[in-house]
């Protein structure tokens, strides 16, 4: 069997004398690992940094085998972010989440495209923290746990949505939230499509608390997995 697919490097772990087991997020084959001959060497060290784009060719006798990957560099995302503390932390967090939350070999082409958008935002957009929170929101939706932020769960109103129910993941309007405010999660305005897109650190922290709650509840805790340290450190940057 053989396929070729664009991919994003998620991790590379040394295997034997010179090979590495590389995990990719591919467009059509999802999170997929394979053995890369020479992957532990210097020639591929720059290519195998998390977040980098590659063109991957996988070969294996049977689909369930680990198989071998050959990689061609297609974009050095990581190198462009090494000097930028926040965006680099965002990249590390996104990659760590994809590794722990996504099931193997399940295609998520929307997520693959969204990662490309996130990488572009991290490199060049001043509003990259908002792009990051939206990426986590999409990750939740792709895993089947999308939040409904279109109307109030209690009143059906589409106006003045300020909170989210930590149980149902549905938005709650300010009026309906008044009595339960301490038990609801704040909904930052930048996550509501119709509102102006700008956010301060507190709004980003609220957004990360919101997505973090549902990622832990639906994607990590059921698999007995903890929130990745890279994500914890990234979120801490906004909660100071």
């Amino acid at each position: 069997m053989q396929w070729t697919d664009p991919g994003i490097v998620l991790s590379a772990r040394r295997h034997g004398e010179s090979a590495a087991i590389v995990e990719l997020l591919t467009e059509a084959h999802g999170r997929h690992a394979g053995l890369v001959r020479g992957g532990a060497g210097k020639r591929l060290a720059a290519v195998l940094q998390p977040g980098n784009r590659v063109s991957a060719t996988w070969r294996g006798r049977l689909p369930e085998h680990l198989g071998q990957l050959s990689l061609e560099p297609a974009g050095a995302t990581a190198a462009g972010l090494l000097d930028a503390a926040g965006p680099l932390a965002g990249l590390a967090s996104a990659v760590a989440l994809l590794r722990v939350a996504l099931p193997e070999r399940e295609p998520h082409p929307r997520l693959f495209a969204a990662f490309g958008d996130l990488a572009a935002a991290l490199a060049a957009d001043a509003d990259w923290p908002m792009a990051y929170v939206r990426f986590e929101l999409l990750l939740l939706a792709e895993l089947g746990f999308g939040l409904d932020l279109t109307r109030c769960a209690a009143t059906g109103s589409t106006e003045d949505l300020t909170h989210v129910s930590p149980v149902s993941g549905r938005a709650v309007s300010a009026a309906a939230a008044r009595a339960y405010r301490d038990r609801l999660l704040p909904l930052p305005a930048f996550l509501l499509g119709s509102q102006a897109a700008s956010a301060d650190a507190a709004a980003i922290a609220d957004g990360l608390a919101l997505t973090g709650h549902f990622l832990n509840r639906h994607a990590l805790a059921p698999q007995a997995r903890a929130e990745p340290a890279a994500r914890r450190r990234f979120a801490a940057r906004f909660s100071r």
Binding site: E17, L82, L88, A230
Partner: protein, 199 residues
């Protein structure tokens, strides 16, 4: 094919960095063929090293004394402190002869993959050394990888407000490097960090 003892020797040698089962077998065979001139002296030296070598209580370097030769050397500059990931990096910088200050060995880098957090590294000791005074500049000589630079940013934030300068190594074209053979990332980083030509 081998006796149990030789098999065990090969297994242990295979665990060394850069070696695998095949080179482990070659190394084991070389040792066994040169028992008097290689195996026994190596055994003796390994015993001595195991007995005497320890981590320096100040910087984390390896030495036979409690305080390593670099930390004891009065000729070294006290005002600059070079932070490295491990002892191999310290040795590499020492080989270059370009740095005359003191070192601090972190013992690794923050790594999401390996689950290494700040508490697993000697970051607290580093901050304590800086707070103790005398240090004017901390040079973060960490690898140009996502983990290495994530650690560098983390350290630079931890050292903020301590009244010292924090610098990092430059990234770019290696000496003898040909542009045509450089990876895209290195080339892009080198272009971004370009500087005015002298003269």
């Amino acid at each position: 094919m081998f006796g149990t003892e030789i098999e065990r020797l090969i297994q242990l040698l295979s665990r060394l960095p850069g070696l695998g089962p095949r080179s482990g077998r070659r190394a084991a065979l070389a040792l066994l063929k040169r028992k008097e001139t290689l195996l026994l002296p190596l055994l003796e030296q390994l015993g001595r090293v195991a007995e005497s070598i320890r981590s320096c209580r100040i910087c984390g370097n390896l030495d036979s004394a409690e305080t390593c030769a670099i930390c004891r050397d009065p000729a070294r500059e006290n005002h600059s402190l070079c932070v490295v990931e491990d002892v191999a990096d310290l040795w590499a910088i020492e080989r270059s002869g370009a740095f005359k200050g003191r070192y601090h060995v972190l013992g690794g880098t923050l790594s999401a993959l390996d689950g290494v957090g700040p508490d697993e590294l000697s970051i607290g000791q580093l901050v304590a050394r800086v707070k103790a005074g005398g240090v004017e500049e901390v040079i973060l000589a960490l690898n140009a990888t996502v983990d290495g630079q994530t650690t560098a940013h983390y350290l630079s934030e931890r050292l903020q407000g301590l009244g010292i300068g924090v610098s990092r190594l430059a990234h770019g074209v290696p000496i003898g490097g040909e542009l045509d053979y450089l990876d895209d990332g290195t080339l892009a980083t080198a272009l971004k960090a370009r500087r005015p030509a002298a003269g």
